[in-house]
Symmetry: C2
Subunit: 278 residues, 2 copies
């Protein structure tokens, strides 16, 4: 779906090994070879200016970088980005822009840091809440109950790092054309917000819009998760976990269909029942 | 354990209701009354300067604020803090200091933001990794296998918000005097780093040192979780979840005893076996 007419950024391809094997001792006193998830610092430089250090599994660091800039509103479109070069020897990614990021806007955003709940303390520059006020999600999408169950079964098969090593969260972008859910992207990361940002980056790179999509996360539906899903223009959000009060309030305000505690044949529909077909 | 001779900060007492009840629709199409975890923005002002906004359950916002300033190294001791006043009408907490935070040091730390994995994107000002290089944890503490099992059973009984509403992480400080684990503090929050920071704040307020303590978290053992435990001087860390590569490497470097995937009668001892008695 790449559009050849628009300038496309030059990307490195610096995927990390996703797990490492260590020795641990189990309850029987046996030394057991155990796979654990990788975790690497990645410092983002934009036009040689240090922006932030993310701790990541490293599955798709270029898309993560682009998605971080997108979701923090430091880049307004992919066209602004000329190159994204990851170098794990120095744990850094160098981004060059075509015309520089808007310094004034960035400075304004940096002033207003919000430490959100993903972990408790994710960071979002700028006041994304104000943006949410103007946002209304498209009404046309539908998800049926059999579609939901098919989606949950498909996600289970994709959880590769989690099955091997645990300690990661997974996110999926699910295409919902003709109301038949199909996994389009699946990303795991040690940080659940990194997983979301990586998908946001891939959506830009592959020219995918959120309008006919469903977003799935293994993580909890806190305010930031709902805000990011709304920012990507995705009207339906599904999670294995529960929801918080602010996640619920924001979901209702933007008209999002939110289904939580979805595992096997159980779920709770928290908002937006008009898109859900039983 | 309050020491009457030292100046003690003046605190508000602004605990929030921890859950709210909403209607959701379950897989049978029934409307079910569902408790969900509260989530509130809390903007920290220090001497009228805005520092950051945390998203929190609100169980102990004063201790959270103090612990955040402690773990970010914006305050070096409780004596620096004169008042901590939370006002939920404006979702803010006003901190006044006795002599001002070191502006120069703070500015330096603000420059170097690290977005960590708690969520993916927690924030830690300053380069805490450098601090870790000099840190060595006390060697005298011991934890026995029956002690571990008793600890896990005790933690299960404390998870009140989680049992009611899910969507929170829990942390506990466990006193380990005479090698008999006993829960001293238990805190849940929508953000797991908020839970840790709240315990760090309570430890200052109650004059508790980490030397003879065990730290328990329901969350994953990422680099930031291990770093914060080390900063609090706690030599033993136990979690229900798995560990990441950096969490493991840092744990070994500071000589921490780390036990992960601890549930029921199962566990994996990842490092520091000299303190664990089978």
């Amino acid at each position: 779906m790449t559009q050849p007419n628009r300038p496309f950024p030059l990307l490195s391809n610096a995927r990390c090994p996703l797990t490492v094997t260590i020795d641990a001792i189990n309850e029987h006193g046996e030394v057991v070879s155990t796979e654990i998830a990788g975790e690497h610092p990645l410092t983002i430089y934009v036009d040689k200016r240090e922006i932030v250090t993310l701790m990541t599994l490293g599955v798709a660091p270029e898309a993560l970088t682009i998605g971080f800039l997108r979701n923090q509103r430091l880049a307004r479109s992919l066209d602004e980005i000329a190159t994204v070069q990851v170098d794990w020897e120095v744990d850094a990614v160098a981004v060059t822009t075509r015309n520089g990021l808007s310094q004034r806007e960035e400075a304004k955003r940096m002033e207003k840091r919000t430490i959100t709940t993903g972990c408790g303390q994710g960071t979002m520059f700028g006041d994304l809440m104000a943006e949410i006020e103007e946002l209304r999600l498209p009404a046309g999408a539908r998800l049926s109950e059999p579609g939901l169950y098919a989606l949950l079964a498909a996600v289970r098969q994709h959880e590769s790092v989690y099955k091997q090593a645990g300690a990661v969260h997974g996110c999926a972008l699910i295409s919902n054309t003709a109301h038949e859910p199909k996994i389009q992207m699946f990303i795991e990361d040690v940080g659940r917000h990194n997983a979301v940002d990586t998908i946001a980056g891939l959506m830009w790179l592959e020219g995918v819009s959120g309008e006919n999509a469903i977003f799935y996360t293994t993580g909890r539906l806190t305010s930031e998760m709902v805000i990011k899903t709304a920012q990507m223009g995705i009207p339906i959000l599904v999670s294995r976990s529960g929801i918080t009060q602010m996640g619920w309030e924001i979901g209702r305000r933007v008209g999002m269909t939110i289904i939580g505690r979805a595992q096997g044949r159980h779920y709770l529909l928290f908002s937006g029942e008009e898109r859900f077909v039983r």
